[in-house]
């Protein structure tokens, strides 16, 4: 992120799991929506946008959420216990400005994810300093 560049315009979006138990809204820019080749991002095939927690509102489904954290437990992923759709994660990383919400953009109801210009991170090799690129990073080796 270039700090001298003006921040991209944000818009209000609505999202949900598949069965409808979990619903949320969030204000975000879809510029910089990313994929990652790490173990969980590959299994989930998720597309991530990072936002501040105060730009995210859970509208329904708190009691339907299951939590999943692993490894260093630097973030917790939330999925619907009925339909299994992963909607968002919460975490803390100083380089992401502290507390953040990582939305799974594929669960936004007003976005066709195939229309997004995605970028890709090499999270599998902890190679965050390489930054985003337009082509996916390999899973193997």
């Amino acid at each position: 992120v270039n700090p001298r560049r003006p921040p991209p315009a944000t818009a209000r979006h609505r999202g949900s799991c598949h069965c409808g138990a979990v619903r949320y809204e969030a204000t975000l820019s879809l510029e910089g929506a990313c994929r990652c080749n790490c173990s969980i991002c590959t299994k989930l095939s998720s597309i991530t946008s990072i936002i501040n927690p105060d730009a995210f509102t859970l509208l329904a489904g708190q009691a339907n959420l299951r939590e999943y954290a692993w490894g260093r437990q630097s973030e917790t992923r939330y999925f619907c216990r009925h339909c299994g759709v992963h909607c968002f994660a919460r975490g803390y990383h100083p380089e992401l400005g502290g507390d953040h919400v990582a939305l799974n953009v594929t669960t936004l109801d007003d976005v066709d994810a195939n229309g997004l210009a995605l970028v890709h991170f090499d999270g599998r090799h902890d190679n965050w300093q390489a930054g985003p690129r337009s082509a996916p990073w390999p899973v193997f080796p």
Binding site: H18, C19, S45, R66, W70, G84, V85, N114, P138
Partner: protein, 144 residues
């Protein structure tokens, strides 16, 4: 495999291992990755899954029966199975005449020996029940 969809018949099936993320659910399957597909229907979009179809006798659940949650909806032609601990959708079971009867639909993104970005994925217009259009290389739109 001769009674599977035509798009799955032209490359030799191979044995693959798959799992959820936490490792509770593990399986192996014999399948061809040619014809692995994405779809623009409501559940395939939410899950961003990539589907590889195989026959039930080519699929073996190695571990995790007790860790699976089932999800079926609408006309319930398919039941999707996800790990209740980590939430990863691994496979579905269903019955469709056009797929040769009983089938298992693997989520190819859960295969441990495959990089999904290396696959030539084809796309179906499931959202509009437009199966007769067949697979194509470009994604079908979600809206309109």
């Amino acid at each position: 495999m001769e009674d599977a969809k035509p798009t799955h018949t032209s490359s030799a099936p191979a044995r693959h291992q798959g799992s959820c993320h936490c490792g509770a659910v593990r399986y192996e399957a014999l399948l061809s990755l040619e014809g692995a597909s994405k779809c623009n229907c409501s559940i395939c979009v939410k899950l961003s899954s990539i589907t590889g179809i195989t026959k039930p006798d080519a699929f073996k659940l190695l571990a995790g029966e007790g860790s699976l949650s089932e999800y079926a909806w609408g006309n319930k032609t398919a039941t999707r199975y996800f790990c209740k601990n980590c939430g990863v959708h691994c496979f579905a079971r269903g019955y469709l005449d056009v797929l040769g009867g009983d089938y298992v639909a693997l989520n190819v993104t859960t295969l441990d020996d495959v990089d999904p970005n290396t696959l030539a994925v084809v796309h179906f217009d499931g959202r509009h029940n437009n199966w007769m259009a067949g697979p194509r290389p470009a994604p079908w739109p979600v809206f309109g």
